[in-house]
């Protein structure tokens, strides 16, 4: 089918990931969307996928996909692709997604496009938009040579939308054999994260190298709490060991799109911008008037973060009558 678009459905922390639903919503607008769901998943997973536009779901709940990385899923997906020949298959640009696309593109000798921000089906092929080089460019690419086009999609590229389809599930046989059980997940360790999560936050207060130390993130936390938001950081702050990697925003961290993004002592490197630039309203505080961040801000204050932020906190408290 020339407009058959598959989405690899990802489950993280026992939930279908937001990016999966974003991709499905887009796929069901651009063509006929179907999903592949492998490994243990919550009871309502298939229904959630159908609600976001999946006309059909290929499903195996076998734990081999959870307990052994990459190889079993590649075996199953490669078989399904060869049988049904979708025009496009979308994967989230996540840990698991990248491993699968790498292996599938080599196995099917079809190549792949990574870091995709948007795509259209065109003349039996696909044309993808890629925010390249830390989103300082916006290029388009295609894949030649036939076969299913594999795309790795950036999170937050599309709006998740309800587009309910009747539930249709086809059970597929689980991949089996010792040769696939080579990369064993022995343990999953979840680092406890407090407060609202970055991914869904409507307001994000983010800190950079100019914060000078771990202790000063407390002030950002206080501001974020007052605004009902979450705290993020640049890679400079993460690499310095002040905050955990889960808080990193940017090319090699999370992609976020809140209503309000408050950048505190962040210079605005392309790799950081590429993870937050599409936020609705950006506010920044930086002592350097030439900081690139100001060019992307709706409102900027040239000043010392250690003066401006405490005053902002006091002011919000005052206005909230606290």
């Amino acid at each position: 089918m020339a407009d058959l678009i598959w989405v690899y459905a990802e489950v993280v922390d026992e939930k279908i990931t937001p990016t999966t639903l974003e991709m499905l919503s887009k796929a069901s607008e651009a063509g006929t969307a179907e999903a592949v769901l492998l490994g243990p998943a919550p009871d309502d997973a298939a229904a959630t996928l159908a609600n976001h536009g999946a006309a059909k779901i290929y499903r195996s709940a076998d734990p081999i996909y959870r307990d052994y990385l990459t190889l079993p899923a590649v075996e199953t997906i490669a078989g399904l692709i060869q049988k049904h020949n979708p025009a496009v298959m979308l994967f989230a640009s996540s840990y698991g997604g990248r491993d699968l696309v790498a292996a599938l593109s080599a196995r099917l000798d079809c190549g792949a496009i990574t870091d995709v921000g948007d795509f259209v089906l065109k003349d039996g092929s696909v044309e993808a938009t890629i925010p390249a080089l830390g989103a300082s460019y916006q290029n388009t690419s295609t894949l030649i040579g036939g076969g299913t086009r594999l795309l790795l999609v950036r999170p937050k590229s599309f709006e998740p939308k309800a587009n309910e389809k009747p539930l249709s599930v086809e059970e597929v046989p689980a991949a089996a054999g010792e040769a696939l059980r080579k990369v064993h997940v022995k343990e999953r360790v979840t680092v406890k994260r407090e407060g609202p999560q970055l991914e869904g936050a409507k307001t994000i207060v983010s800190g950079g190298r100019g914060l000078k130390g771990e202790e000063n993130f407390a002030m950002l936390k206080e501001l974020a709490d007052l605004l009902g938001g979450a705290v993020g950081a640049t890679r400079a702050a993460v690499d310095a060991g002040w905050v955990p990697y889960a808080m990193q925003i940017g090319q090699t961290g999370k992609t976020v799109k809140p209503d309000i993004y408050i950048a505190c002592a962040i210079s605005g490197a392309v790799q950081h911008l590429s993870g937050m630039k599409t936020s609705k309203t950006i506010i920044s505080i930086n002592k350097d008037a030439e900081a690139p961040m100001f060019q992307f801000s709706d409102f900027g204050v040239v000043g010392d973060v250690f003066k401006v932020v405490p005053q902002l906190i006091e002011e919000i408290k005052k206005r909230k009558g606290k």
Binding site: V12, Y95, Y137, V185, E315
Partner: protein
Amino acid sequence: MNIVVCGKVIPASSVTIEIDPATKRMARKGVTHELDPAAASAVEEGLRLTEKHGGTVTLVTMGISDATIGIRNALAMGATSAVHVLDDAVAGSDTLGTAKVLAAAIKKLPFDLVICATESSDSYSGIVPGQVAHLLGIPPVTFAREITLDGNRITIKRQSEGGYDVVEAALPVVVTTTSGINEPRYPQLKGIMAAKKKEIKIYTAAELGLSADQVGEAGAKEKVLTVGRPPKRQAGKVVVDEGEGGKQIADFLAELKII
């Protein structure tokens, strides 16, 4: 323990990388190059493992002649030798073309472990290592933020969305390192001197048994159609803090009805 590290030499971080509108590729010729910091981390990890378990570290890189400077840097850090695939025929390779070249070069070497950086700092596709693993017929063990070897078993802490996974496999594998895994050492004078005498083996694609239609622009499945700039965001108002900066932000938030 024979370790192969795949690492890229890229335009230095001080260089703003541009895309040449004519070739639609990154402009690499004539700009200062350095060992990709991500690759330096991968080399560092290889060195630490051989310091503990014995063995050699061989750097494999595909790149233009300017790459030599970065290769020397890896050798000065302590890598044993290097392989440089240097050939105009490989220019314009896509990820899979690059992986075919790297896999062919690796096959010429004895190896127990291949280390790649999760992603390169310039193109950051992050899929070349997985493609190399498939082409070598060995498993990918990815996103390591810690690596331990015990006999022929490798155990890693694999970065995950909410923390990390403990993942185990038998060698040989392709392992990929994340940026925080270590702090790469700086080459010392002794290392820099020693590096001058170390071997850099140079191959063309043909010498690796790859035909011209498999690699480079000719072999690329991915074709860049257009190169452009994203729409510029309209910059807003910027004020200088004269003691009221925090209040002014509060006013702005109030205008947006956030507070």
